[in-house]
Subunit: 249 residues, 2 copies
Amino acid sequence: MVQAVILGSGNVAHHLARAFTSHPGLQLVQRYARNINALDDVTIPVPITHDLSKLVVADVYILAVSDDAIAGLSAQLPFEGRLVVHTSGSMPLEALDLKNRGGVFYPLQTFSKAKAVDFSQIPICVEAATEPDYALLETAARALSEQTYRIDSAQRRTLHVAAVFASNFSNHMYKLAADLCANNHMPFDILKPLIQETAHKILSLPPRDAQTGPAIRHDQKTIAAHLELLQEPSQRAIYQLLTQSIQHG
Amino acid sequence: MVQAVILGSGNVAHHLARAFTSHPGLQLVQRYARNINALDDVTIPVPITHDLSKLVVADVYILAVSDDAIAGLSAQLPFEGRLVVHTSGSMPLEALDLKNRGGVFYPLQTFSKAKAVDFSQIPICVEAATEPDYALLETAARALSEQTYRIDSAQRRTLHVAAVFASNFSNHMYKLAADLCANNHMPFDILKPLIQETAHKILSLPPRDAQTGPAIRHDQKTIAAHLELLQEPSQRAIYQLLTQSIQHG
């Protein structure tokens, strides 16, 4: 049984708290939030505190707070030598104050508070300074998810950039496509099945092999026609740069 | 009952031929391919010809051939005044020879021959020069799909560009992410749930509202750290351009 205290009141804290109260092998013993009123999910049956001096003993303290708050909060903890982890994709293990044993417990998914989350399908990236701590975090991760990965700080830094491409930038491609539809009086709905199929394809085919369209076919006639159509300079620049990148990739 | 002849031996011809033999209200009366051996799906129970002079009478002739072949094939047809349509996203209705009545029947999806296709979920974009022809094509489209749209040639040209953004370019984002994983000894599998969720999100949320990440948060510290990490000039240029576009969009 892994006993945890979760600190924070954001989306990740919320979903982790729910998950730690509903998976065998895990126990949420306390929650901390500086502002208890920020915890709108008070239905989770666990003691809450806003006073760091009242933190109880646990196997692991999970700091599910914003990147900027990790260093300060970890320095304020009124104990030493315990296992303290953060949940950030972009911060190194060393962002945590060294008076405690450090680790990282990074669930790689976009969270919104309103939407329920199935943790079993969320990859969890684990790092720790020592093997015993790694073993404990991995036990907790495996209790939550079918996909756990040992990822060190340098890898996680790159993984976070890769996630920006895979998620933020692909979503921006949807947004640019939606703009083109709207400006030409077509519903974005027309493109939704294509978007789903494109995302689905890479489950069975590497993205390199899944590529189709005028760029990979070096269909210069279609590319020229598309560029002629795109009047907005930023859209044109993106079309040109990505076409080049596809052709030289 | 809409009776059709399908001309062509590619993926679209293959899937349309299957669909026209399995939906009530549609009947495939003949197939044409210049090279009959290219038709590897000979299990479809319908007469095949490679001789244009043997084409039988039908309500509509569907030219499911490459963009470059549309004009030539439509000019070679040994009859006049019948309804002849192409299936291309990027060619105007006028690509068809004017001796017949023109139309467009464009299923907006990526097709691969090996994978079965559920036409009911594929948007079909229909255009015709006259209202009676439009009505006939719409009847055929509705027999196949739950989503049919009336899209004129100018709109379809833009729709094709939008599809490049939504599908080819988003797939390229997956490819760049996969490269970053591979170069840092991480399996691309880590990112697959995030990619699926990102594509799934826009079914219920406009892409503009679904955006997350350092660009939309104007998190300059993380953006600077990501750019420092990206050594490859093309990756850096794409990261910068798309970050700007997200921030100014």
